[in-house]
Assembly symmetry: none
Homo-oligomer: 121 residues x 2
């Protein structure tokens, strides 16, 4: 068992929102940090074990990580131009919580996205 490399965590923080292991790695490289991809993966896994970060899956199956507890938001995405608006999801949080309780689920997280055509398109 290895412990997490602190620079990985700090990079994930700086990334804001979600980032995949590959993205964290590329980001660190671009910033001149000397680190191996393996270490990035190991560190992220360790952070997940310690429940310091959440892990989700993108549509394509790539794992994306995010700081636990970080105020998370949802997205409103335009199908046509790809423009994205960050929106708040108070209603969702409540819904997720209620549904989870109703079915005896614990440690729940959720994903929610809205997509459509923005006013310009």
């Amino acid at each position: 068992m290895s412990r997490s490399n602190p620079r990985v965590l700090s990079t994930l923080e700086r990334a804001g929102g979600f980032a995949s292991a590959q993205e964290v790695y590329r980001l660190m490289q671009r910033e001149g940090e000397s680190i191996g991809l393996t270490t990035v993966y190991r560190s992220l896994q360790s952070l997940v074990n310690d429940k310091i970060v959440d892990v989700l899956r993108r549509d394509d199956g790539e794992a994306i990580y995010r700081l636990c507890g970080e105020a998370h938001h949802h997205h409103l995405v335009c199908k046509s131009c790809g423009d994205t608006v960050e929106i708040e999801g108070g209603a969702i949080e409540k819904w997720a919580k209620v549904m989870a309780e109703e079915h005896g689920f614990r440690e729940v997280g959720h994903t929610a996205e809205i997509f459509g055509l923005c006013s310009k398109c």
Copy 2:
């Protein structure tokens, strides 16, 4: 664009619950069906496009498919055993509509999923 091979759909039905592309393939082989893995993938994709099957992700990132039962619903998925409960999302529908209006979006759809640990895990 290829159309779905009907044997793939029928195998997915017979599998009950969720099955990954690899599982559908193995199942068909075991039953003596002559089919290629590529065709299984293509057929499943096509079924997803036609909204005949749902696709989700297991914890390990593998895509799992299942016949789309009813109309529009959301999922409560166990991260550990993959058990899935279909839940109703009235709150979400409303939230999506309000958020879309607020930002001038039209023709909106949405995705929402909750995941956690079920009572058995």
